[in-house]
């Protein structure tokens, strides 16, 4: 390895402008928080400004495909490629939505004097996720996961007054700590076997020697545990309902989108780069014969969606229901990876954009309702259809989209997953996934039933929603309805983003 010259470093820094922009925003938030002392109302605007600049940098380098922080001539620790940029846009975009979200949330308003920490921690999460989706090095992967996790542990327990917040935070820390410990174990085994931490180097070493053996399988699975924890795949999902129920709603929504997206990006990169042999002209991957990823992921995904859906049926708390539904959706998303083809990856990207809108939208409405009702119990939603028609109809559309019925965008997301499955001739898996959809209809429809079909038993007055909230909800609703009818731009965007560095 040659000594890193200054020129090298400058070239690398040019490639991580988005990360630098987030870091500057983070520092700025801390400084402004200290200087302005009691006056916190500028913080979110500064944050949104910073993220807008970040988005600009990401889009400017969208089609770049390059390494940064090289360890040798053509290998580096950080990868900049369209695939990573896609997820960065997704993360930055959902962060902006979450900030707007937090401005409307009563829970966050109650902790007004600690809003500085709140936004700074979110910025920390973003930075962690940015590196997660673009790292090619096991050490960097571990560090970025920890960065994401530590910030989110604190955020899950943001409201110190609420007992359930603290409980959520503690559970999250314990589960998260163990899973990252397991991952570290896996990383050290892999390093011991190959003598490298760089994924590309590991790949070429493994290809050359054609190794087999239990230790490789073990290390692969151990690393999967930590990623599975982040994307809440069964059987590593146990934290999800408790944390989702306990955390403040904006954070719950954020965890369900951004941190899950980062986890998926990492998983795809890890599986593809480390174990790939070749990609055939039809876009199917031929993986090295070390670990049977296909069977493994199929089993995990079917387990995840079935568990998620059947557990969701019994939930009475809206946040818990959405937590289980997000577990189920992780199962559908995993199917896209199980296909092991570029088409499957395109399907995952499409699904994520749509899932982002519909899940954030659902959480947004749940939060607005909870601001007024002070409750997230589904039984308290009785008769909401006539009391708050706009919110109820919006929630209905989001839930229908989560079920995957046309003409909402959720259908398009599911359609692409199934297109990929049928193209790969995985018919039985497709049938199981479709039957799962029917199960999911039952619990989503149960919410509809309470809102529209059941008459209210309690005396709660009709409530109005502020104009800003209505506009916000409508903005989330628009893509759901538009992409359901006309999805060409979305699919084009996703297809241009599946290029992973090197393959």
């Amino acid at each position: 390895m040659n000594t890193i010259s200054l020129e090298y470093l400058v070239d690398s820094l040019k490639l991580i402008k988005p990360e630098i922009a987030v870091t500057i925003t983070l520092v700025l938030l801390v400084l402004v928080d200290l200087i302005m002392n009691k006056n916190k109302k500028f913080l979110p605007y500064i944050f949104i400004g910073g993220l807008t600049v970040t988005l600009y940098f990401i889009i400017a380098q969208y089609c770049t495909s390059s390494f940064a922080f090289n360890i040798s001539k053509n290998l580096g620790m950080v990868i900049v490629d369209p695939f990573g940029n896609f997820f960065k846009i997704l993360i930055a975009g959902s962060s902006i939505i979450i900030i707007l979200f937090s401005m409307l949330s009563n829970e966050i308003k109650d902790g007004a004097d600690r809003q500085g920490e709140y936004y700074v921690l979110i910025a920390g999460m973003i930075l962690g996720m940015f590196f997660m989706v673009s790292s090619a090095d096991l050490i960097l992967i571990y560090v970025s996961i920890e960065m994401l996790s530590l910030s989110s542990y604190v955020l899950a327990g943001f409201d110190k007054q609420a007992i359930r917040n603290s409980e959520a935070s503690l559970k999250y820390v314990i589960y998260g700590g163990i899973s990252s410990g397991i991952m570290l174990f896996g990383i050290s085994i892999l390093y011991g076997l190959t003598g490298s931490t760089n994924l590309y180097e590991i790949n070429s070493l493994v290809q050359a020697s054609q190794v087999h053996g239990f230790t490789y399988i073990l290390s692969g699975f151990l690393i999967f545990v930590a990623i599975g924890f982040k994307i809440s795949a069964a059987p590593f999902h146990f934290w999800t309902p408790d944390v989702y129920e306990g955390a403040p709603i904006p954070i719950t929504a954020y965890l369900s989108i951004a941190s899950k997206a980062a986890g998926f990006a990492l998983l795809i990169r890890f599986v593809k780069i480390t174990f790939i042999q070749s990609v055939d002209p039809n876009g199917f991957w031929h993986l090295l014969n070390i670990i049977d990823w296909k069977t493994f992921i199929i089993i995990i995904s079917i387990l995840t969606m079935t568990l998620g859906n059947f557990a969701a049926i019994w939930q009475n708390n809206m946040k818990r229901l959405l937590a289980y539904s997000s577990i189920a959706h992780a199962g559908y998303l995993l199917l896209g990876l199980a296909v092991l083809s570029n088409e499957g990856i395109a399907a995952i990207l499409i699904y994520f954009v749509i899932y982002g809108f519909m899940n954030l939208g659902a959480f947004l409405v749940v939060m607005l309702i909870s601001n007024k009702l002070g409750s997230e119990e589904i039984d308290d939603y009785d008769g909401l259809g006539s009391k708050a028609p706009f919110l109820s109809v919006s929630l209905a559309i989001f839930l229908v989209s989560l079920t995957g019925l046309p003409p909402t965008a959720g259908f398009i997301g599911k359609l692409y997953i199934f297109l990929a499955l049928v193209d790969a001739k995985m018919i039985v898996v497709a049938v199981i996934a479709l039957l799962n959809t029917v199960v999911s209809l039952y619990y989503y429809a149960r919410v509809l039933k309470h809102m529209f079909l059941s008459d209210s038993t309690k005396e709660t007055p009709a409530f109005t929603t502020s104009i800003s909230s209505i506009v916000f909800v409508a903005l989330m609703l628009a893509p759901i309805l538009i992409f359901g009818i006309y999805f060409t731009p979305l699919v084009d965007f996703a297809k241009s983003s599946i290029a992973l560095m090197g393959f």
Partner: protein, 534 residues
């Protein structure tokens, strides 16, 4: 011929009406109802226009050049990479002799159902908005020729129907609504799966010479469009067409509803408000049989030929089982619901005959069942509005109290039994003639004729219990029909009598298409058997 896109007009007019209604204040109930009535009458007029300009000599079925009022635009076009190819979905509408009667039926039934909905007074705005959305979904299914579009319309109906039953229904409405929803979604996921499989097995050549996968149903009917290795391609020796056919058939059979997938129907009917029962029986059930005729038969002709005996068998079971269940009912509405199952069995039997007589009979029966059953449900609605009970044994002697009403009832009942001179007779006799002419299913046909006997049994018995005999004291205050109810009954009665006396009006309409279908199914035997030699 006009270039006016009349099919888009008739399909999307209700959506326009729905958006309009959403802007009317909640308190203006009469205005909302009037707008809906206006929209549905415009639809009837548009349907009559279609009928007027319809060319009776063109066959349709699998030949894109003989469909009429076609509209075809590129809707989704995603330039592909090498591995996935281009994705192309057309906005493709068109009608032939199979769909024209059903477009007409949909227009008429929604118009009648709007009149019947006049009594709704709970959340009027929501009701009529959903009602119109449902209308678009139904109309769209009958005019779409692109599978993707067909599926979108098919699913579009689910949600409005769920709410219409669930909010405005009877006591057990929540149960009935979710049961309907789950059953039909269960059916449609199978349709989705087969749709995707067919998509990857067929391709069509574009103007610029590139071959792309396609959702075009007409392209799927031509075996030369299939790829060598598609999982549902007849050229592939290991294809899954047989399983796909079963899946698809189940998907449609749930809607018919065919035994043993029928259990959602009585619940849905009993709980739904009258107008929704009318739509459900009048139009929605036809979608199942229409789907089989439009999709299952021409796309999988060789498998249809293998399985006709089973289709006829299930038709027979539907006829006998539905009739026996109807006979045992104490609830007037449930009785009609089961009679519906029985009558839809005739359609299945007619289709299974694969000859002109049988298939014309089946399509004709779809139309007739639509009008007759709609009238039967309206009849139940009228008596329920007045007496607030539907128990058959609670009534008696109503003929003296409500003579005009009883007259219409008698007409509808006799039409349902199949009395000569009324429309039901013609279609049922065509079905029996057709099915009897096909040796394979002759025995099943003979057994099915029992259904007529049973039908006469439960219908006449009901007529006797409700309308004849001494009038019970508590019903002496019941009034006869109102003007609005006349407006519902008279058009339906006229159609029933007119088509009974002059059935050619309808039979000529579908004749060329039915012949094309029969010819297509017969040719397919040769074409597909030569393909299997690959």
């Amino acid at each position: 011929m006009t270039y006016f896109p009349i099919l888009s007009f008739i399909t999307f007019l209700p959506i326009v009406g729905m958006i309009f209604i959403l802007f009317i204040p909640k308190t203006q109930a009469t205005m909302i109802k009037s707008v809906t009535l206006l929209i549905t009458s415009a639809q009837v007029i548009a349907a009559l226009f279609i009928l007027h300009y319809y060319n009776y000599s063109l066959g349709g079925i699998n030949d894109p050049n003989s469909f009429q009022f076609m509209e075809k635009f590129r809707w989704i076009d995603i330039s592909g990479f090498s591995w996935i190819g281009r994705i192309k979905i057309d906005y493709f509408l068109g009608i032939d002799g199979i769909s024209v009667p059903l477009v007409l039926l949909t227009a008429i039934i929604t118009f009648i159902a709007t009149l019947s909905s006049w009594t709704i007074d709970k959340q009027v705005k929501g009701y009529f908005a959903l009602f119109l959305l449902l209308d678009t979904g139904m109309m769209g299914v009958f005019v779409a020729l692109d599978f993707f579009l067909f599926y979108i319309f098919w699913e579009l109906m689910l949600l409005p129907m769920y709410f219409l039953i669930g909010i405005w229904g009877g006591k057990r409405r929540e149960y009935a609504a979710i049961k309907f929803f789950l059953y039909t979604l269960f059916g449609s996921i199978f349709i989705l799966l087969v749709m995707i499989g067919l998509y990857f097995s067929t391709s069509e050549t574009l103007a610029d010479g590139t071959r792309v996968f396609t959702f075009n149903m007409l392209a799927m009917m031509n075996p030369h469009n299939y790829n060598q290795f598609g999982i549902l391609s007849p050229l592939n020796p290991n294809n899954l067409r047989f399983i796909a056919y079963i899946f698809l058939f189940i998907g449609f059979a749930i809607k018919i509803p065919m035994f043993p997938f029928h259990t959602w129907l009585p619940d849905a009917h009993v709980e739904a408000p009258t107008a929704i029962s009318v739509i459900l029986a009048g139009v929605l059930l036809k979608m199942g049989t229409y789907g089989i005729l439009r999709v299952c038969f021409p796309i999988f002709p060789e498998i249809t030929r293998q399985l006709v005996w089973y289709i006829a068998l299930f038709g027979m079971i539907n006829i006998i089982y539905g009739a026996l269940c109807a006979m045992a009912q104490k609830d007037f509405k449930k009785l009609i619901a089961y009679s519906s199952i029985s009558h839809m069995g005739f359609v299945l039997l007619g289709m299974a005959s694969l000859n002109s007589l049988g298939i014309s009979g089946a399509v004709f029966q779809m139309f007739n069942h639509g009008t007759i059953t709609a009238m039967l449900f309206l009849i139940v609605g009228v008596i329920y509005d007045r007496a607030h009970t539907r128990e058959i044994d609670a009534f008696g002697g109503l003929a003296t109290q409500m003579p005009i009403y009883s007259g219409f009832v008698a007409l509808a009942f006799f039409a349902a039994i199949g009395l000569p001179g009324l429309s039901g007779f013609v279609s049922e006799s065509f079905i029996f003639l057709g099915a009897f002419g096909f040796g394979l299913i002759r025995i099943l046909t003979v057994i099915s004729t029992l259904g007529i006997l049973l039908g006469a049994g439960y219908m006449l018995w009901t007529l006797q219990r409700v309308f004849l005999g001494p009038l019970k004291e508590k019903w002496s205050a019941l009034s006869d029909l109102t003007f609005r109810e006349y407006a519902m009954f008279i058009p339906l009665s006229l159609i029933i009598i007119f088509l009974g006396v002059y059935p050619s009006a309808m039979l000529n309409l579908m004749n060329s298409s039915v012949n094309s279908m029969v010819k297509f199914m017969a040719d397919a035997k040769v074409i597909y058997s030569s393909l299997s030699g690959f």
